[in-house]
Amino acid sequence: MKKFKYFSMFVMSLLLALILVGCGSKPLSKQDVLQNAKDANTISWGVKADTKLMGLIDVKDGQEKGFEIDMARALTKKILGKNGKAKFVTVTSQSRIPLLKNGNIDAIMATMTITPERQKVIDFSNSYFDAGQSILVKDGSPVKRVQDLNNRTIIGVVGSNSVENVKKYAPKARVLQLQDYAQALVALKSGQGDALTTDNVILAGMAVENPGYRVQGKAFTTEPYGIGINKDQPEFKHALNKAIKEVEADGTYNRLIKKWFGNVPGFNYREVLR
């Protein structure tokens, strides 16, 4: 009887393991995202909730606001027509790619750089913004440039490529990855690290609100932001690229750049005009 008990336990563990493995290897849905969006008259965008100037939740009304939000709205109108709706789902650097691959969102517009590693799993539109990576430090910090971070602690965010980039310039840097930029900034203030790294435009937004902190040195990488979409969606990709071109051509793009980055100290908006 006892032997039987253990045997059945074993069989069940095996079954469970099989089920679990099975869950892991299901293929993605192969649907036409553009057609679905047209049918629903809605594109759902994965956007940031914690990034000043790009995508941030406004405490007053709980709505997302920022350059990427406005861009997403403009692109939606170009693709779906005047009455097209943009639905926003807040994502983090960690959650955005799983959510896209799972189909919770149609497109990622969340300060995501086009990188070869990401291109292995998802597709990108043409770049819609050119950022560059930089570091944020406390005034008077001995860290003058990214190379100074060897043997110091650098704070980044889970799922962003900034941490990997720093490793190229300062291989001996210790890395802490936090959940989002809000936590990362507070951690920097609490002295958990010597510098915070991400794209200069995000850092510029932080420096504005936090006197005593500055963006240090020149950007040491170029980070072209692209809209992330699932692979095998040529129509959707084409529609996005066409919409980006149209938004640039009719002046909407430059108007939005001026609206969000016109008055950010330490960030020359003219460099990103198109």
Binding site: I97, K120, V121, G191
Partner: protein
Amino acid sequence: MISAFTNNWQNFLTGFGWTLLSSIVALFFSLIIGSLFAILEVVPNKALRVIGNIYVEIFRNIPLLVITMFFYLVIPLYFVKINGFTAGTIGLTIYTSAFIAETVRSGINSVDVGQMEASRAQGMKYTQAMRYIVLPQAFKLVIPPLGNQFVNLVKNSSVLAFVAGFDLMYQGNAIASQTFDTVNTYLVVGVFYLIITLPISYYMQHLERKLA
């Protein structure tokens, strides 16, 4: 799932180590602190009882995440720098100690009152009676619930991921966001947690049955 493990096994094992270390350290200290407050809650002195009660009620009713983030983000602003692992372990210790205090207290209460009276009648002091007669019996009674607290502790240690505490969950997040193989990575993480929690949990069920 197998390849998700073999490609990153060092990271998983590192995370497993930190998770285990954090859980054991937190268990050790929360046992001491928890027992202390449990005794405070049952002593005849009213002021001490109130102190014990306040501690237990406060930390039982605030989320672990809030306590941990407080130690990670707020304390360094004004006092000393605490790294993520330590902040997480301190948070775990405080949070768990409140539960252990409750468990031990109910253990003490369920030891027959007559035992205490009898030992006092024989000329033992209150502290002696507590130390030699009541507490040993109480601890025996509460071993299964304490074991379950330890299981909770191990599960709760995943809060370290929020403060870059290098634990299993943190490594899982880092691996998943690099390999983009989310589900399989978290399955491996899950198996590692079960390696610790399932055996303890089964052993405690076994003990419970024996004691009942």
